[in-house]
């Protein structure tokens, strides 16, 4: 972690950039709604900046940032009456634990730690892999992706759903995720 003056925004930005991928993954896992995620991402960074003087530097930055992000997300969701879309306590704990585990893997950055995920994608059935690539790699709207894949919305949605579960199972087999399926 960069040596940081409590009000040194440059060091803070470096820190934020180091953790931005993790933070986005966390928020997406927690919220599943792009608008909420985008809002929460911005607000969490700003709140973290304000609270930086209170940060205990003997402790890791990432869990602290996730804690701020979660509270920020809950606040925004409550304001927009979308609280139900946010992961509950048990799911949040699971996500927190698994991300903590992923972060502990030796790698230079968060993206490098996702290599097992890319390997698991190669094991998906072709139509499932296509669905994942269209929606996640190419960022297509699922309706457009369904059309591109030559199927209807419902079939495509199920493909995506099964693909995600299969990826989770594969990651667990690889030891990337821990514990029983959740």
């Amino acid at each position: 972690m960069p040596v940081m003056d409590p009000r040194d925004s440059q060091a803070f930005e470096i820190l934020v950039r180091e953790h931005a991928d993790m933070l986005m993954a966390y928020l997406r896992a927690m919220a599943w709604n792009d608008a909420l995620v985008e809002d929460a991402f911005q607000e969490a960074i700003i709140v973290a900046w304000r609270r930086l003087p209170d940060f205990d530097r003997s402790r890791p930055f990432a869990p602290w940032l996730r804690g701020i992000a979660r509270n920020t997300l809950l606040g925004i969701a409550r304001k927009h009456q979308r609280r139900r879309e946010i992961a509950g306590e048990a799911a949040a704990l699971h996500i927190e634990e698994q991300l903590g585990r992923i972060e502990s893997a030796p790698a230079d950055c968060f993206a490098d730690r996702l290599q097992p995920l890319k390997e698991c994608m190669q094991r998906l059935a072709p139509e499932q892999r296509e669905a994942v690539e269209l929606v996640y790699a190419q960022s297509l709207d699922p309706r457009v992706a369904a059309s591109t894949a030559g199927t209807n919305d419902e079939t495509f949605r199920k493909r995506l759903y099964r693909a995600r579960l299969q990826l989770a199972e594969c990651l667990r087999m690889k030891g990337f995720l821990d514990g029983a399926p959740a």
């Binding site: 009000r7 925004s9 440059q10 930005e13 934020v16 950039r17 931005a20 991928d21 986005m24 993954a25 928020l27 997406r28 896992a29 927690m30 599943w32 709604n33 792009d34 608008a35 985008e38 809002d39 991402f41 911005q42 607000e43 960074i45 700003i46 900046w49 927009h80 139900r84 992961a87 799911a91 699971h94 996500i95 698994q98 991300l99 992923i102 968060f110 993206a111 996702l114 995920l117 994942v132 929606v135 996640y136 790699a137 190419q138 960022s139 709207d141 699922p142 309706r143 457009v144 369904a146 919305d153 949605r157 759903y161 995600r164 579960l165 990826l167 989770a168 995720l177 399926p181 959740a182």
Partner: protein, 399 residues
């Protein structure tokens, strides 16, 4: 359909986690993350003081060219974004959507003439994945025919490709004529030869990026290529904004040449509002997202105080031929941001349907720009190369 919201059950924790991790695989993930972080830091700086930000970025790096200093000031302030809102999230979604797939748009521009009249220019814009694009002046829509309202006696012939009569474009030199051997390919990265890049006086009519190289075609059919976008962009800043904000980041410089920079620009320095009501549906009842962006008053004031470098006044349109592509985009001709922008997108897919941008105070020559979606033209990857955009054979005459 969202990614999950029509499931009967809420997603499992594992599914949520995988969903979150997969988001990192997006092709443009890094660029999006960069924009997000910069936007957040800009808000922090706004709260903590602009001067801190200036010091942090190092003014000297940006202000190496003295002419850019004033624009830099605009840019720094422009980078200080407004509060996050659903309008911003929607804008982000529209912007993200634009980066996927091949789409085509017709662009109409209202430009001011020296005599106070106005003229129209039209172009076709194709955007594709991997930041590929084609921007081609519509030669079939060159100023001919009936008078237009406000033209003061007929369409004016201004700007690239708009001089002379149709089919008899001004031609100089003989290089680059399209023949059996194909276009004259001359890289800008090599030393100039012959009569220089393109025909002197032969205005550029199309620009593009094929995924690896930038290219430009002049009216004589000469194709120039370069891996350096700065050497290809100057004649087509119509979709960009003040240049100072865009520093040496390669990604942003590439984006400057497409619709994307305009959308990016709206994320800061503008007040955004989502329009609701009757305007948010088509006549057929299909849902639309309409966002209206208004340049903040302080931005307008700053722009007016800095907008006229090198003697370019509001009634002095850009020289007919446009500046040389060798001058680079950061010359004095990059347009200021529009004062009002209206975005319309498909509410279900966030696909951009139209953009209307206004410069009511008449900064330099551009007054209004309307971009409207049309049926996609790009049939394959070759579309984003120059070969399919050469001027019509009738334009390659001997004068």
């Amino acid at each position: 359909m969202s990614l999950h919201d029509d499931h009967d059950d809420r997603p499992s924790p594992d599914e949520r986690l995988v969903h979150g991790l997969l988001a990192s695989l997006a092709a443009d993930h890094a660029a999006r993350q960069d924009r997000r972080v910069r936007a957040a830091m800009a808000r922090i700086d706004r709260q903590d003081g602009v001067l801190a930000r200036l010091g942090r970025f190092g003014v000297a790096r940006f202000a190496a060219a003295g002419a850019l200093a004033a624009t830099l000031t605009i840019a720094v302030v422009l980078s200080i974004g407004p509060a996050t809102s659903s309008a911003h999230a929607t804008l982000q979604s529209i912007s993200n959507r634009l980066a996927t797939g091949n789409r085509s748009y017709r662009q109409t521009m209202v430009v001011a003439n020296r005599d106070g009249t106005q003229s129209l220019r039209e172009a076709m814009v194709d955007v594709g994945t991997g930041r590929r694009f084609v921007f081609a002046i519509d030669l079939d829509a060159l100023p001919m025919g009936p008078h237009l309202p406000g033209d003061g006696g007929g369409r004016k012939r201004q700007g690239p490709g708009m001089r002379g009569e149709r089919g008899q474009p001004p031609m100089q030199g003989g290089r680059g004529r399209r023949g059996p051997e194909g276009p004259d390919r001359r890289g800008l990265d090599g030393p100039p030869h012959g009569d220089g890049p393109g025909h002197p006086g032969a205005p550029p009519v199309a620009w593009g990026f094929d995924g690896s190289e930038y290219w430009q075609i002049d009216l004589g059919g000469t194709v120039t290529r370069s891996v350096d976008p700065q050497r290809m962009r100057d004649p087509m800043p119509l979709m960009g904004g003040p240049e100072g904000e865009l520093d040496s980041d390669q990604d942003e410089e590439e984006e400057l040449l497409t619709l994307q920079p305009l959308l990016d620009r709206l994320g800061s320095g503008f007040d955004l509002a989502v329009v609701t009501g009757a305007q948010s549906r088509t006549a057929d009842g299909d849902p639309l997202v309409v966002i209206e962006a208004t340049l903040r008053p302080e931005m307008v004031a700053m722009d007016r105080s800095n907008k006229l470098p090198m003697g370019m006044g509001p009634t002095e349109p850009r020289p007919l031929d446009g500046p040389s592509i060798r001058k680079g985009r950061r010359g004095p001709h990059a347009p200021p941001p529009p004062e009002r922008v209206r975005l319309v997108a498909d509410a279900r897919t966030n696909e951009l349907v139209s953009v209307t941008a206004d410069w009511p105070q008449g900064n330099r020559f551009l007054r209004r720009m309307v971009v409207e979606r049309v049926a996609p033209r790009a049939a394959d990857d070759a579309w984003f190369g120059p070969e399919q955009h050469l001027p019509p054979a009738t334009a390659i005459g001997d004068g």
